[in-house]
Symmetry: C2
Subunit: 410 residues, 2 copies
């Protein structure tokens, strides 16, 4: 007998028929003798409907009240799922964030889980019932309702799995697993049977959308195996687990791309100590995240040395960031500021990079062979990212996918 | 400075514009220096939408899960109202049943309030904010969500007012007060400026729909003055208060009618001790309420004495009640059982009846003058009810309204 957490996203509970399907799946697992905890998102479209209501009242709604409204989406789907399990002949009880209880900090709309009290789940199991937990929501120490941000139900699922010591956290979604790259861009993409937490974390950070980054972080921290699989089939999906020998043999596990960043070039700033610190200090103060940073070699002229500083920020942050960037550029006596939104970050990820030399060089060579110019590079122990013009997205992804042998193994 | 509870029903918060209107009204009251607690129902139509969802999953949904679903209606409207108050420049915080907290028994869908912890309301006021409380909902001692039944927001409002020692509980609705009778039946109906708890309780029990019976019971028990008024005007409505000398001078305060009952006649049962007890004992066991009871004089024949027993039950209970009634009628050797759904209960209510003789006789005379036959009578200290054929509803109500001088004082 295993203790299994099963998480179903908005599409999987998007209609009464689909909720019935979820109920049958949970009961099938329970019928195999397992204890089941179900985590559900709001029915697809419901969260948007609720937020729209709030936005009709006021343009910038108070975050506390927004969370009170948004949390009802999961409250309804949890109770409907419990009803569907009962209708199929099972026993089930819904549990909300304040009932479980999922204690978070007070950062409304993006709260972080601090602790989970699992006793309500265990007492539900003792009554022979399946516990259906509302995802996405928690409660702060004042008893105020909080939400975990978009995709927060993944985080609820993994955190609950960690708190109750579940054997596995199954994430049911509308795709059947984690792919070597986005199949809509590269038809040769294959389902990855097994991937390490570290690789999954890099892939999620670099643009793969299957799992929420924070849920992978929690799974890695507490060693909760995640099984990403389709809610519409019984096929095995992708296991996200601790790294082992077999995983290290694969040099590149996946290719990711991210079109959400824009490049900023602050050109011709004085090349003296403290300049870069001042630039990025100012941007960080405004709570704007900077990703890749490239400082060009300084060029001397008339005894004065000048350099270009380039970096990337989220496109959505750009309108807010521009005034600060230009202000600090002015104070640094920069010659010009340029923005480029026509870029994409293409990345390769793999545990095997640690023990295989020349992986980055091979990536650059593959891109060069396709005539793709690289405007920035960033690396970690298990990934290499290159910034290229976004018109090359498909070409770059397919070339890397083929070049690192990912297209062969189908 | 007064402490004022303001309750707004589903129609009053039925759209974003109406919620804004509610917000402005609360702020106007606060601007006069009062502390305000707002109680809101779900937006009109919302509770039905939610219950329909549950019924799509299963025909007879589990009451616990139904309450989890239904409670989201008030959760959303409370937060939207808080947002609207903020948008109008005020401070407000929503509070849910489990936050206030409104402790109830565990009778899902018809829970009774056991206690209200008011400290969250006071701490909200201390922050200079209006407390917006979700009506209709509570939480039992296990932390499970409960609801108080249809119209339960009235009960929430009065119970909260009693718990925090409010000076008045204002019930805002789509009519501008309590009327001497239903204006749609009798155009001469007038708004009653002031009525006693006892009279209001009788009127509510006898068919007037303005206030929920339990809310009046609580108001009477704790002496909370209720002010029933329109959410669309500033006019004074009806004050429901402790009785006083001025109220006792009015013989008849209002005329009510109720078409929700059906008459059952169990004819020709043996007239011996215990027969009636057996009949009504059996019905009561099935949790079916009986209202009026009339036992005809026994008629002897061949040394055997037989009698007819007639009573009324709710029409909605009749399908469920019939099998039990027929079973017990058989065991009592009754000669026949007849059902009559074409009846109406017409009632007059007034504190002054206590000190004025002949009120019932006058009622019978008025009905007789109109040629209306009375098939059953029931009286209390401050009301007289007559059962008549339902085709006479309008005629009876208008004749009584005029006959007791209620049409004159407009």
């Amino acid at each position: 007998m295993a203790l299994i957490v099963q998480k179903f996203g908005g599409t999987s509970v998007g209609s009464i028929d689909r909720i019935r399907n979820v109920a049958r799946r949970c009961l099938a697992t329970a019928a195999q003798g397992h204890q089941v905890v179900v985590i559900v998102s709001a029915m697809s479209g419901e969260t948007n409907r609720l937020l729209k209501l709030a936005h009709e009242v006021t343009e910038i709604p108070d975050a506390r009240e927004m969370d009170v409204i948004a949390a009802t989406g999961e409250q309804v789907s949890a109770a409907l799922t419990a009803l569907a399990i009962q209708q199929e002949g099972g026993k089930a009880r819904s549990l909300l964030g304040h009932q479980v209880k999922i204690l978070t900090d007070g950062a409304y709309s993006k709260a972080r889980i601090k602790a989970i009290e699992g006793s309500k789940i265990f007492s539900t199991h003792k009554k022979g019932a399946i516990a259906v937990v509302a995802g996405f929501q928690g409660v702060d120490e004042n008893g105020d309702i909080t939400t975990l941000g978009r995709g927060g139900s993944d985080t609820t699922a993994v955190a609950v799995a960690a708190a109750i010591g579940a054997d596995v956290c199954e994430i049911y979604t509308d795709v059947d697993g984690v792919y070597t790259t986005d199949p809509s861009v590269c038809p040769e993409a294959r389902k990855i049977p097994k991937i390490s937490f570290e690789e999954m974390l890099e892939l999620a950070s670099l643009g793969a959308k299957v799992l929420q980054i924070r849920s992978v972080e929690i799974a890695m921290k507490y060693g909760v195996p995640i099984h990403v699989r389709s809610s519409f089939s019984d096929a095995e999906g992708t296991w996200v687990t601790k790294e082992d020998k077999s995983l290290e043999e694969v040099v590149v596990t996946g290719v990711a791309y991210d079109k959400n960043e824009a490049r900023v070039v602050v050109a011709g700033v004085e090349d003296k100590p403290g300049v870069v610190a001042e630039l990025f200090g100012t941007i960080a103060e405004k709570n704007i995240s900077v990703d890749m940073i490239i400082q060009s070699p300084a060029v001397g002229n008339n005894g004065e040395s000048r350099t270009d500083v380039a970096f990337t920020v989220l496109k959505t942050d750009l309108p807010r960031a521009k005034p600060f960037i230009e202000e600090v550029a002015k104070s640094l006596k920069a010659q010009s500021v340029r923005y480029d939104e026509g870029i994409v970050k293409v990345s390769i990820v793999g545990l095997g990079m640690r023990s295989h030399a020349g992986v980055a060089a091979k990536m650059f060579r593959i891109l060069a062979q396709e005539g793709i110019n690289i405007s920035a590079i960033s690396t970690s122990e298990i990934k290499v990212s290159c910034l290229v013009a976004d018109k090359y997205t498909e070409l770059a992804v397919r070339a890397l996918h083929a070049g690192f042998g990912l297209s062969d193994k189908a």
